[in-house]
Amino acid sequence: MRPKALALGCAALAAAVVLSGCGSGTASGGKTKLTIGLFGNFGYAELFKEYMAAHPDVEISDRTASYSDHHKNLAAHLATSSGNADIEAVDTGYINQFKATPDKFVDFNTKGGEQLKDRWLPWKWEGSLSKDGKQIGYGTDVGGLAICYRRDLLQNAGLPADRDQVAALWPTWKDFMAAGKKFQEKAPEGVKWFDGGPSVLNAIVGQTPVGYYDKSDKIIVGENKDIKDGWDLVVDGVNSGLSSKLLYSTPVWNTGFKQGQFATVTCPAWQMAKIKDQAGPEAAGKWDVTSVPGGGGNWGGSYLTVPKSGKNIDKAVELAAWLTAPEQQAKVFKSAGLLPSTPKLYEDPAIVDYKNPYFNDAPIGKLFTDAAKKLNPQYQGPKAGDIQTAIGSAMQRVEQGKQNGEESWNQFVADVQK
């Protein structure tokens, strides 16, 4: 080729590369470039460095979006089979939607996943297993459930601040609301008992034996008495002025931590990293963690999947397996507080004895592993994530005074059964 034609060819190639968007490929210097799509805080930054040090031929870059953006982008990219990262994280609320089309993902069982099966809690493994037995995801963390609370605010309102005594305040959610009414009498203006109805309700739903679906994937939330009772209880709490009326994972909710607008927040393990990020160093030691009303429960937790459209499937599978191995999950637990999904660690003294200095040295290792052992996994149907969003909107309608509890509940049930 003449130089000019060569330059032209290169330009065309460059344009083609640009047009193909954020596709991954081989980076300069013969390194394999792996991208990983995440949402929120997975605590992986240090692990990437460690992996790259051990594998000089691999370069990892991550892109992090918000929870809902991440999952919508993933769907759009799967639809066009382009633009996906080599590894994509998927939350529990969405995994069923994606495992309904398992052919879009690499089946880990064909890549040696079957041998790793015993790493995870059995229900975690089954959570990402498609109906025809394809494994599309390796489990990262499970949510677990606890309550995070502000020691100083409780104390000022004449309630105990010690975590065992606080736990004794609320064996059930009813007691939790009763304690809230006591708190609210003496609370300073602008400070409420809990952050918002939707997050309390999510915790209650996460504890019921049956959730939004029955095992045949039929939506039965309309007839689920446990959830309706929880709904009524939270509506009562909202009407008694216990709610800051802030929707979780929104900018105003983040501000709520900074401004100290609420005294308690339901705390899956992943929530603690968020609290630490949002409340900041000046709130260190003010927050504490104790057990959740009604025993254990689960809210959230994620998986790592490898979309089939990726160019470096084998290396991506290898990295996903490494990131979700017990050793790495233990590190993530310590750095970001995410509760491991590998039961082997629940007996590991390094985990069980771990205390979190930010949360007033709360023994979160023991607290969360105890909760995880007690956990009774709930079956999640195909669109559990959407229904969780819809019930959150329904609770917001009550909080905003647009509808009363009954009207809003009826509209919610009609909406999700459409």
Partner: protein, 306 residues
């Protein structure tokens, strides 16, 4: 002789076909990025199709449209769209006229002002919306704080239908008025000053001159701006989406109080994966936009000199 024949023939071919070659790139690009997606959308709208499972798609012909016309949430979204269209387009044009009139005077550093009015327009819509969402915050928003100085209560801007529409309209008007003002300003400067001088001699004041001379002579630009603004404001997506962050962003508020048709399309397509249904919404919205733009055209066309 044969050689000359060949060149003349080539010349004739050249003059006949070359122009098509020159305009071809536009039509090629329009075909690939404009016409094809449009037809493809119509085609998809006739199917029952899951976003991430295209292989299982099947033709249902007009079932999506039948379902759509009976869908109360779609009509709610269309109502919000029209309300927002009215709340954005009319103030936008009036404000732009006023700004253009102000900028048309002999003031110092007027180039600076003229450049300044376009600034909101080149700002990223996401950034604008995030900032405005904070200004309109319930507990710590600047606007509620200012209202509080006058003794007004805390307004939960996102919660109400009217309040949320106003907040979103403010964002759009703020962003686009400067753009239209510059278009108006350019044609204002083309109006011969003799018209104003004659009017002044006849004793017309500034206000009369503005409404009787300036506005009628700006008619073509006002028509243009109205149509451009209409096509933009009928498919508002980013503003209502980012005004309500969180997992439920696509519903446009807890009771869909500010869910526009474009946002409903987004919800159906990208959270419910109803690709066919979502395409049907796109087609109906496009038709509605043409109708509303036509309406705007007929209203603005009636502007005339007496």
């Amino acid at each position: 002789m044969a050689v000359i024949d060949k060149t003349t023939r080539r010349h004739r071919w050249d003059t006949r076909f070359a122009p098509y070659g020159y305009v071809a790139p536009y039509f090629l690009i329009f075909g690939v990025f404009g016409l094809f997606p449009l037809l493809y959308t119509v085609w998809v709208s006739l199917q029952q199709r899951n976003l991430i499972d295209a292989d299982a798609a099947r033709f249902v012909w007009f079932a999506n449209y039948a379902q759509l016309l009976a869908d109360p949430y779609f009509w709610n979204a269309m109502g919000n769209t029209l309300s927002l269209w009215l709340l954005t387009t009319v103030p936008q044009i009036l404000l732009a006229l006023w700004i253009a009139q102000l900028l048309n005077r002999k003031v110092r550093t007027r180039t600076l002002f003229r450049m300044g009015v376009i600034l909101p327009n080149i700002t990223s819509v996401a950034a604008v919306t995030i900032i405005f969402a904070q200004l309109f915050g319930r507990d710590f928003g600047l606007i509620n704080w200012s209202l509080g100085l006058f003794g007004a209560g805390q307004i939960d801007w996102q919660a109400g239908t009217a309040s949320s529409h106003i907040a979103i309209a403010v964002m759009v008007v703020w962003r686009w008025s400067g753009y239209h003002a510059l278009i108006f300003l350019a044609s204002m400067q083309a109006i011969p000053s003799s018209l104003y001088e004659a009017a002044t001699l006849d004793g017309a004041n500034g206000r009369q001159q503005f409404w009787r001379i300036t506005v009628p002579l700006l008619r073509p630009q006002i028509i243009f701006s109205t149509i451009i603004a209409t096509t933009g404001n009928m498919r508002l997506l980013a503003e209502p989406l980012l005004f309500n962050p969180g997992a439920a962003a696509a519903t446009g508020g807890s009771d869909r109080q500010f869910q526009t048709a474009a946002l409903y399309l987004y919800e159906q397509g990208f959270t419910k994966y109803e690709f066919g249904y979502s395409s049907a919404i796109a087609v109906v919205l496009a038709i509605a936009t043409v109708i509303v733009a036509g309406l705007g055209y007929f209203v603005t066309k009636r502007i005339r000199t007496e």
